[in-house]
Assembly symmetry: C2
Homo-oligomer: 351 residues x 2
Amino acid sequence: MRVLSLEDIDALLTMPDCIQVLEQAYREFGNGKAANIPRQDMITPRSGGRVHGFKTMSGSLPREQVVALRINSDIIHWPMIDGQLRREKIPAAPGGNWVGLILLFSTATGELLAILPDGVIQRMRVAATGGLGIKYLAKENAATMALLGSGWQAGSAAMAACAVRPLRQIRVFSPNPENRARFAAEMMAKLGVEVVPADSAQAACQGADIVSCATNALGTVFNVNWLEPGMHFVCVRHHEIDPEVYRRADRVVIHTKRGTPEHYIIDDDGRYPELKEGYDKLDLSSYPELRDLIAGKVASRGSDAEVTIFSNNLGLGLQFAAVGKHVLDLAKQQGKGRELPAGWFVQNVHP
Amino acid sequence: MRVLSLEDIDALLTMPDCIQVLEQAYREFGNGKAANIPRQDMITPRSGGRVHGFKTMSGSLPREQVVALRINSDIIHWPMIDGQLRREKIPAAPGGNWVGLILLFSTATGELLAILPDGVIQRMRVAATGGLGIKYLAKENAATMALLGSGWQAGSAAMAACAVRPLRQIRVFSPNPENRARFAAEMMAKLGVEVVPADSAQAACQGADIVSCATNALGTVFNVNWLEPGMHFVCVRHHEIDPEVYRRADRVVIHTKRGTPEHYIIDDDGRYPELKEGYDKLDLSSYPELRDLIAGKVASRGSDAEVTIFSNNLGLGLQFAAVGKHVLDLAKQQGKGRELPAGWFVQNVHP
């Protein structure tokens, strides 16, 4: 049983590989050759307006003989920052850290193969999935991208976009001017593409072929008045884009119809109005899923004038199966990680 | 992060303690002070009529600041044994073993506190929960018990019954005469109660105050024609008892209304007719749950003549939270188990 660190995973996983293994997994899933147990959140109240959030999702990828279970065990609160209500995770675990784990199991033997921290893979899978949306839906000749957000997730969103389209310019906006300037400088050095800070979200979006939202805002960050023909949108949380944009779009593809996690809440007395993160504001059930697009069951973009959206709402356990197994295979090849005795995680009885 | 072995747990957990911590957890749950994510099964087909079954359930017990996630990763097939279709788990994990794990997380810090094998706790929690049914529903002066089944689960069912009623005799039946004779001798020595093998299920049940079913049969093992006034029934799988007994019973209490796991099946082409283990044959939704009984929200037995049933159908993650945390506390006090660095299971980023 192998235990990997964030550093191990960071050194092993590239964006192009991540996009490739996910594309293959979605094709399998779209053809009925994979399974996924949707996300479930169990909320336990704590003192001081905090809650413990326990989030799980699972997926099975028979082609790789692997099942993944991803677990987040978070201490959460909701501060108001820059006039926006935000959902924040408090690093309350030993050493001032957070807790997110991926467990990989063999479908051939049942054994626990590995425990991985989820941080790097989470960042990469969100962006790579958005990248697949760009690959299948954005204009072939897309050259400019507006990036709303300058955090960790925004960086990987830029990497993913560059992996699937030959971008010439990325314009980044986030409320803090220092953050966006620092981000632009860092990403330009990393990607070899022009990355410029924009003074407003609107300025960033003007004339952009792709609009990528990577914020943790609980409200809308793209206004429908900024909409132009040919734009492709990618967002993690669908409410980042004005609902009117969905209505006007020619094609909308979503990550999963199951847009809301199932919630199990202790003492649910209405104290946590933002718990569901605005997931309920739009009915996603009529849109096709990414697996349908990648398996060729629905058409991709029809013309350069179309407005398209890929709304990458909730994570799927299947993503962690595909990317986790890929990382584990590389770790074994390269001798990375700690190997613990398999005997500690099996038993000679069965229930 | 502490890793315990089956031997550690076996040495730490007693049946009376197990019953006590579960009783407290059900009282909390019945009063809205605990949460539970129901069991979900993901089925991946393998060659040779086998499948990989991935089963999860979770529970939160705020009183103990703990969340448990129980995972089973099994290679399953369905052989015909003694004329009954059985569901069997193949020990395909390293060393010819099975895989069942309990992960405990702190709701105060989010951290992974422990990984435990689930075998001993599974055996004990099933029996202890049945014991709670006996405590609240069987006749006060119950003296004799019929035990159908002579396996591992039957042994703990006998222990649990003896912990809550001063039994004088247990009559055991299972199809193989050697098994029941061996079981009777072993349990008599262990419990200090008369344990006798019976020649038939009917002979075991005649005149019994309690009928306890602990088989892995997929069919009925108690026939309605054997029913007598005052009997209390306890079973793990509700179909072990003839549906007519449920209709004639004065009180039926179930473990959870969610009588069927949610199934996620790859290639579900009808090849696995017994996958759902007969759960669908009876509608349990009208019966109160054990938590309601223990929290005093529904009445227990009204007279010695009543027929009562506790049908302990599906496991609850909450049971593993309550019993797992109790075991972990004892392990820490007594220095049992392996302590791994907490830093291996946290991360300095968060998704």
